[in-house]
Amino acid sequence: MAFKDLIIEKIKKQFEKSIEEVKEFRGDLSITIAKDKIVELARFLRDDDELCFETCLDVTAIDWATRKNRFTVVYHVYSFKNNFTLRIKANIDGEPPQIETVSSIWPGANWYERETYDMYGIVFLNHPDLRRMYMPEGFEYYPLRKDFPLLGIPGSLPLPDKLE
């Protein structure tokens, strides 16, 4: 059995009702899961003896602007044993959009989630240190949201006083 089919079979067995979509595009496998099952799925993927997805390569998000579930959180995880990269997605909504952190499963996800919070305003619940990363403390906006203007909001970032 190809490794892809093994993943799909195992996950479908374990999370039957929570899987929203399984999709393959140009050889990349994506699995969309209900947002309240994300930690469970993460633990399963990491701890399963055959799957062994031990590394979180990236966490990011997509802002769909007008869609009902406005944000999609995207995780890329990697299995050294099988040399395989898997994409996990979760659709979320609300203001602020919230999802459970996976940094308890993959400690490496800590800063990726901070970055995603900084850029999209997605709150990762139970995250150990959810602070701004690139933008200064106290900045009120989330720059990668679709409603944020490219040139920023005048006066939102302080500059030193002008010298003559």
């Binding site: 690139y134 200064p136 720059p143 944020f148 490219l150 920023g152 970032l157 030193p160 010298l163």
Partner: protein, 170 residues
């Protein structure tokens, strides 16, 4: 300067204090390499033996602002970095000059974006802008020569009694 010829004939010259001080100042400009991103590579190249900034007395890059009188801002200045650039500028003793090196520093360059200051003249007084992305070392040397011309026109009196750290921690 052809001083040797004078020595042979008269053994002395006449000039003004201002001219001598300005001449000394312009021939020993010590740059502060504020290399923030890619432009800094060309700044380094300008100091190497091929382009040889030493010909203009400016090869002594000092990594502390307290020993410098020319700040070369080479790179993309973000809003976060702007505070740092200004703090370092404030620590340089008077008299001091600033070169905005590269498109980013002068105008924001290709980063027409929320996080990049669209030209550092919004918070610093600039004496020379250098065009290019990145500018060639010759171009930077040209800016330093421009500054030298500017310095040679100064009077020693212009810089008297200015407090060293005038604006810091205001």
């Amino acid at each position: 300067m052809g001083l040797e010829a004078k020595l042979n004939s008269d053994g002395f010259i006449t000039t003004t204090i201002d001219a001598v001080i300005a001449w000394a100042r312009k021939s020993s400009v010590w740059p502060m390499p504020m290399g923030i991103s890619c432009c800094a590579i060309e700044l380094i190249a300008a100091a190497d033996p091929k382009y040889d900034l030493a010909r203009f007395g400016s090869e002594v890059m000092r990594f502390t602002p307290r020993q410098c009188d020319l700040m070369i801002v080479a790179g993309t200045v973000t809003y976060k970095m702007a505070q740092v650039v200004r703090r370092i500028y404030d620590q340089m003793p008077e008299p001091k000059w600033v070169i905005a090196m590269g498109a980013c520093t002068s105008t924001g360059g290709m980063y027409r974006s929320y996080n990049v200051v669209q030209g550092i003249d919004q918070f610093l007084p600039i004496d020379a802008y250098v065009a290019g992305c990145p500018p060639r070392p010759e171009n930077l040397i040209n800016a330093i020569m421009t500054i030298q011309q500017k310095i040679s026109k100064t009077k020693a009196r212009d810089f008297q009694d200015k407090p060293l750290l005038e604006t810091i921690d205001k």
